[in-house]
Every structure is written in C-alpha cells, then in structure tokens.
C-alpha cells in the first residue's frame, strides 16, 4: 500500500512539472508586457524597463524558465504585485475557507445525491424517479452563479446570512482557520452556530451541480446492480427487499459512485471560484478572481499552480480510497 502511494507520488512529478511549464508559457510567452497594466499608462519607457528588470522579465526566456523552476522547487511561488506578500502565504491564509466550503459541499452533495439516486433506482419510473430526473437535469443545467443569486434573492431578509464566513465580532483569532473546527475546539457554541449559518447558502450553491451528477451516477449504477444474478439469488432465498438493497446492491453499486464523488470534489475546488465571488467568501476562489481583475499576474500564476497541485493530490487521494474499497484493483498496477 505504502509502495503504491509512493509510486503514484513519483509519477506526479512529471505532471506537476508539465503544469508548471504550461502555466509559465501562458503567463510569460502569451503575455508580452505586464508593466503597462501594473505601472499604468503614464509610466515612461525607462520606468518600465527598470520595473521589468526588477521582476527578472528582461532575461532571456530560458533563463526565466530556470529561475521559475528553481523558485518552484524551493516552494517560492512569487510575490503579489499588489500586496508584495508571498503568494504561498496568501493562498495558505485562504485555504481553510475554501476547504471548509468544499468539504461541506461534497458531504451535502454525496448524502443528497446518493439518496436521490437510490430512491430513483429502487422506485424506477415512479413519481419519485421523475422528480429525481427533473432535479438532476436542472442541477446540471442551472449556472452556479445564477443559483447563488437566486438564493441571495430568496434570503435577503437576513434570516440566513448571504455573505462572508462569520460575524466580524465573533471572528476567532489563530486556530486552524476552519471555523467550525475552531468553535468545537474552543467549545464556543455561538461561534459554531454562526459559522454554520454562514456556510448554508454557499455550500448548497456549490453542491447543486455535484448532487445532480452523483444522483445520476448512483441511479444508473444501482439499476445495473439490481440486474445482477446475485441480487436474484438474494431475493430467491427470501431476504426482505430492504436487506437486498442495502447489503447486496448498495455495497457494489457505490464503488463507481465513489469515483464520481472524488472527481466532483476536485471540480468543486474550481466551482468555488464562482460561488465564493457571489457570497463574498474569503477563499482561494475569490482571491483568484480579484487577482485576475487587478492583473496581478504572479498571484494568478501562483494560485493556478497551487490549485492544480491540490487538485492532483485530491485525485491521488481518491484513487487510493478507491483502491482500498475495490478488491478488484491491485496495488502497483496502474489502471488506465
């Protein structure tokens, strides 16, 4: 097992290197001169060259590339033009917010999605099934940002907060940055409740698309499993239908669902870009959008790299879980 994880980690190195190269190409080759957007229209050519020299942009491209890779290996993702803080620190500060949102969304999506999927499959062609299909169809068609706006509209009376992570007065200092966790550690119930209320709308919004995808996958997987011979056997030996479904069908049907949940978790990190912007959620997604809007190129470059690495690691984690659950997969063999 440890060998398998180790091998997979080694295999990640070329992928990360490739991602870094592509990001470098986009940010340094396509983009000819960031000095104009950073220094403004009125900067003199001398000032521009001076600034470009400071940033190391006057060097030949291959030298820039080596400097870029060297910095990357030592964990230096560059400095923000705007705040002059290291990008890794900016991202690190915001990581808990995004992770808290993504984790709660995936938990919500898995619970609701699997429930809808199982009910739709078991009661195939019933009214529940039809409602389930309409729900999943809407879920994949409705834009995340519009759903967010609709929820803000619906809850603008202040019953459920529609912005930020927590009431400013309650904000805990230090701790893990995961407010729900911090509240539990500190034993502050009001903090937990407040953080939870702030989490409701963003996580529902972010979860919608994944819920629909998971529901669809669960439905078809359960339907396929219910067709198997061993289900007929289980029914034939007189097991109650509930037991057949829970102990025989679900256990096998959920294996492909887990893969989908894993893939969805990765895409939630990206979906957070839109959700965080709507609900002013102070996470990585909102930071990315702000950096793009203010043309903070190193910040964008750094964030994309960090998010891509997180994305790759999450996918690896999912593969490992999958390998643990599915006895048919052998460790060490790379499944294509």
């Amino acid at each position: 097992m440890i060998n398998y994880i180790f091998k997979r980690l080694i295999l990640l190195i070329p992928v990360v290197l490739g991602v870094a190269t592509i990001v470098f190409l986009i940010m340094r080759v396509f983009l000819t001169d960031p000095s104009q957007s950073v220094l403004g229209k009125y900067a003199t050519p001398e000032q521009r060259i001076e600034w470009r020299r400071d940033q190391g942009l006057e060097e030949p491209l291959h030298i820039q590339y080596f400097v870029f890779l060297k910095d990357l290996v030592s964990g230096n993702f560059g400095k923000s033009y705007k705040t002059n803080l290291p990008i890794s620190k900016e991202v690190f500060l915001r990581f808990p917010a995004t992770a808290e949102l993504a984790i709660s969304a995936i938990i919500l999506a898995s619970l609701v999605g699997v429930t809808i999927g199982v009910i739709s499959a078991v009661k195939k062609n019933s009214i529940f099934d039809n409602i389930g299909s309409v729900f999943s169809l809407m879920g994949v068609s409705i834009p995340v940002f519009w759903l967010g706006i609709l929820l803000v509209m619906a809850f603008c009376n202040g019953f459920i907060p529609t912005g930020d992570r927590i009431d400013m007065l309650l904000k805990p200092t230090g701790g893990t940055g995961f407010y729900l966790l911090d509240a539990l550690i500190l034993g502050r119930f009001n903090l937990f409740l407040d953080a939870f209320r702030h989490l409701i709308l963003p996580s529902c919004t972010l979860a919608m698309h994944s819920t629909a995808v998971i529901a669809r996958m669960t439905r078809s997987s359960v339907l396929e499993t219910l067709d198997q011979d061993y289900i007929r056997t289980a029914r034939a030996k007189g097991l109650p239908e509930r037991k057949v479904i829970i102990f025989h069908a679900l256990r096998n049907a959920l294996i492909p669902v887990i893969t989908v949940i894993g893939l969805q978790f990765g895409s939630l990190l990206a979906g957070a870009v839109l959700t965080e912007t709507i609900f002013s959620w102070p996470g990585i997604g909102k930071y990315t959008v702000e950096s793009v809007q203010s043309s903070d190129f190193p910040a964008v470059q750094g964030v994309v790299l960090v998010v891509a690495i997180i994305f790759i690691l999450v996918n690896l984690f999912v593969d490992v879980i999958y390998a643990l659950l599915d006895p048919k997969i052998k460790f060490g063999k790379r499944s294509e």
Binding site: V15, V19, L137, F145, C156, L274, T288, V304, F311
Partner: protein, 300 residues
C-alpha cells in the same frame, strides 16, 4: 426504457434496412429519437434558440444598446418593456435576444475549435500509438490537471478578451475530452478487418483515419459535441459573470448578470431573465445530447 422500444423498432425495420441501408439508418435513428419526448423538446428549443441567434436581431423591439439618460434605476417589466430595463434604461428583452447570438455562436465555435484539435490529436495518438501516443496523452493529462475555469481565466487574462480569443480559451480547455474519446474509439476500431482492407488497397493514413474510420465513430462525437455546446455556453456566461467575457456594450447573458448584481433586492427582474436564458439554453443542449446518446450511442 426507450432503448427497449428502439430494439423492437430495429427488428421491425430490418426489412426496410435491406432495401436502402444508408437512408433507413437515419430514418431508424429519427424514429427512435422521436420516441424520446424529452429529447424532442430539447431539439425544438435548440432549433428555436439557433433561429433566435441568427435572425433575432431583426425582431428586437428596441435597439439593445439604446440607453436613456434620465433614469437611474432599472424599470420593472411593463407592456412596453416585457422584461423591464436595466439601470441604463436598455431593454432587457432586446438584450437577451441579442445575447443569444453571442452565447450560441461562441458555444458552437468553441466546440468546433476543440473538436478539430481534439480530433487531430486523438486520431494521431490512437492510430499511430507508441511514443507519439504517450507524448500526446501526457500533454492531455497535464491540461486536465489544471481546473478548466482557472485555465480559461489565465488564457483570457493574457490573450485579452475578444470574441475570437474567448472561443480559443473555451475551446482549448475542452480539447482533452475530445482527444480522449476519439483516441479510444480509434484504438478499438483500428483492429477491424475493414481498416486492414483499406490499408492493403493502399489508402494513405490520412484517408484511413478520416474517410474509413471516422464515419464509424462519428455518433459518439456528435453526442459529445451536443453536450459540449451546453457546457461551453455555461463557461461563456461564467466568464462574463466574472468580468472576463465579451466586452461591453455587446449584450452577453453572463455580463448582464454581473452588471445587475447590485440590484438583487431592488430589481430582481434584471437578474431573473438573463439567468433563465442561460439555463434554458444549457438545458436544451443537455436534453438534446442525452437524447442523441440514447439513440446513437446506447453502449454508454
């Protein structure tokens, strides 16, 4: 459920098949597609939207960019302005019709862009195999490792935001999907005898890939392309919402949402209708894609 029905149809139409293979294959598909009511609804809406996108500009009641100086707040829907106006007094109904052309054009064009590049990459990888396959597929893996919306944002940030560049950015992020599906289909098709026959007759690789193999795998590609249009429309709108879309004053649904974001309580109609337009378009192409999959590609 519809596949069972279509099997029966296939059996009953077998005799017709014998008479004219080419013609009845299409007729057969249309017959089973028609059975799927929801897919037909999708097709009808999609055709309607494409019609609006092409000819809509002749039917807009107002100039979509006509502003009024003396108003400060959006006006609610009225008899004159069916969907109300935005804060500059522009007619939202006209802007939504006008926005359809951008969304659908960018959607279709970006699918065309990624389909073309994905087809070439996937075909080369699948047909030749070996080292070139490894190189292309590693490249695809790398693109897939970057969350697509972030990649699109990066590309637009550096390329700038013209319609052509947005098409390229959105097209680029979906190349992997097409390359993968085409590579997979070609891998499984190329072992067939008819490919071997074409090779013996002396057809060039190009003609084997595009004239011999491609017609056999085109159904999977059509399904993917229909679903691809729906996700491309979503991506255009998302980029517009983030302020990275088509440059104003051109009406674009996502940009309309972001411009009216501050009126969420005051004037919900400014946000309701553009969002509905996006949802309807995405829904139509999703329904169409699902329906086509049932007919053309029952395996998946």
């Amino acid at each position: 459920m519809s596949s069972e029905v279509s099997k029966e149809n296939n059996a009953s139409l077998e005799q017709v098949n014998l008479i004219d293979k080419q013609d009845s294959r299409f007729g057969d598909m249309w017959y089973s597609f028609k059975k799927n009511k929801i897919a037909v609804v999708g097709l009808v809406i999609a055709i309607f939207l494409i019609f609006v996108a092409i000819f809509g500009k002749f039917f807009t009641p107002f100039d979509p960019n006509l502003t009024e100086q003396d108003i400060l707040n959006p006006r609610p829907p009225s008899q004159e302005h069916w969907f109300g106006t935005d804060e500059q007094g522009r007619d939202i109904f006209s802007r939504i019709i006008n926005g359809a052309s951008v969304s659908i054009f960018v959607g279709v064009a970006s699918v065309g862009f990624s389909l073309l590049l994905g087809m070439v990459l996937g075909a080369i990888a699948g047909y030749y195999g070996g080292k070139i396959d490894t190189i292309i597929m590693r490249f695809i893996d790398i693109i897939l490792a970057i969350p697509s919306i972030l990649l699109a944002m990066c590309l637009i940030l550096t390329l700038g935001a013209g319609v052509g560049k947005i098409i390229m950015a959105i097209g680029f992020i979906s190349i992997p999907q097409y390359a993968r599906i085409i590579r997979g289909s070609i891998l499984s098709e190329k072992e067939n005898d008819y490919v071997e026959a074409a090779r013996i007759v002396g057809c060039s690789d190009f003609s084997i890939i595009f004239k011999t193999i491609l017609p056999n795998i085109v159904s999977g590609i059509i399904v993917r392309a229909a679903l691809g249009i729906s996700s491309a429309v979503l991506e255009v709108a998302a980029l517009g919402y983030l302020g990275l879309g088509i440059k104003p004053p051109q009406a674009e649904w996502g940009t309309m949402l972001s411009e009216s974001r501050k009126f969420v309580i005051q004037a919900p109609h400014t946000l309701l209708f553009p969002g509905l337009a996006i949802t309807l378009t995405v829904l139509a192409f999703n329904l169409l894609g699902d329906g086509l999959r049932d007919v053309l590609d029952p395996k998946s």
